[in-house]
């Protein structure tokens, strides 16, 4: 009983002592997904399509690494919820300025970069 409580209070650390098979399967899956990104790079798809595919594969890789290698899957639920809320909020907050990059791409006044060297 004491061991059970200690394990829970250590944030699920006992999960590290599980079988090797699961880790090897996750490792293989991440390698396959990484290889898939290289295939996508040579697939001649349009810019945004390529970006979307790269992002989706990257998120899948990162998800496997976070859940199984970093053992977030066996952490306490309130910690995982807090982690997810903070990270997702920050990542979403970073997206606010894309409209300005579109403005520059369309060649709005005073928005053109000079080429060759930083002025």
């Amino acid at each position: 009983m004491h061991m059970t409580i200690e394990t829970r209070e250590n944030g699920g650390a006992a999960e590290y002592t599980g079988g090797l098979g699961r880790f090897l399967v996750v490792y293989g899956c991440i390698l396959v997904l990484a290889a898939l990104q290289f295939v996508v790079a040579y697939s001649h798809v349009a810019g945004f399509q390529m970006f979307a595919r790269m992002l989706a594969i990257g998120i899948a890789e990162a998800g496997l690494a976070i859940m199984f290698f970093m053992h977030v899957g066996s952490e306490r639920r309130n910690f995982v919820t807090w982690l997810a809320v903070v990270v997702i909020f920050v990542l979403l907050a970073l997206q606010y300025s894309w409209t300005d990059s579109y403005r520059m791409e369309l060649g709005a006044p005073n928005s053109q970069y000079k080429t060759g060297s930083v002025q």
Binding site: E6, T17, L31, A65, V90
Partner: protein, 209 residues
């Protein structure tokens, strides 16, 4: 041990539950906070890179097969190092110190191989005229973005190798325990995780067709 000493013994499970948010050991929570902050830093860099790339009409796509192959090897090395540090943590938790140290050292060697491959590629690009302020293929911002993002990641790898050796040394001497190896593993996995986004956005979306 006096009562006041016991209150500051962070390895005591009963203290974790009272003193640390979420019932997680304090050092582990500190590492998670660092990872969150660092994730925001890398995300900021990658979003800024996307912002520049999207807004720059003559963004170059210069990477040819040798660079892509090199990036592939670096990716394989780093993902494999995530497995080896995981095995190191596993052995530490099973109280197999010598096996754990062996995996930690293998991870450090893989980190060094990654850094060597990366620096070799940097020198290749610099010899072609790409620097922080110049780029022979188009927008100078390409060099700025490439060296900034990959340099930040390489700094993390170098710091991780130092941490692997230092923590491993102290673990060997008995000053650190398996919890410290677990925390070290979290950092190393994070370094690997960041690379999963650096490769597609900085390398693979700039492949020459």
């Amino acid at each position: 041990m006096s009562q006041s000493d016991a209150a500051f013994d962070l390895h005591a499970p009963a203290v974790h539950a009272r003193s640390s948010p979420f019932g997680i050991p304090t050092k582990k929570l500190a590492m998670w906070l660092f990872i969150i902050a660092d994730a925001a830093t890398f995300a900021g860099c990658l979003v800024a890179y996307g912002f520049l790339r999207n807004g720059t009409p003559n963004w170059p796509t210069p990477f040819k097969t040798p660079t892509v192959v090199n990036a592939g090897v670096m990716t394989f090395v780093l993902i494999t190092s995530s497995l080896t540090i995981l095995l190191g943590v596993r052995d530490a938790k099973l109280a197999r110190k010598s096996q754990s140290l062996r995996w930690i050292n293998i991870t450090a060697v893989l980190g060094i191989i990654f850094a060597i491959l990366h620096i070799r590629e940097w020198f290749g690009m610099i010899s072609e005229g790409v620097t922080l302020a110049h780029n022979p293929w188009g927008s100078a911002l390409f060099g700025s973005a490439f060296f900034s993002i990959t340099g930040l990641h390489l700094t993390h790898v170098a710091g991780g190798v130092v941490a692997l050796l230092a923590v491993g040394w102290r673990y060997r001497g008995g000053r650190y325990n398996s919890d410290d190896i677990e925390i070290l593993g979290l950092y190393w996995h994070f370094v690997d995780l960041v690379w999963m986004f650096v490769v597609p956005f900085v390398y693979l979306m700039n492949v020459a067709h």
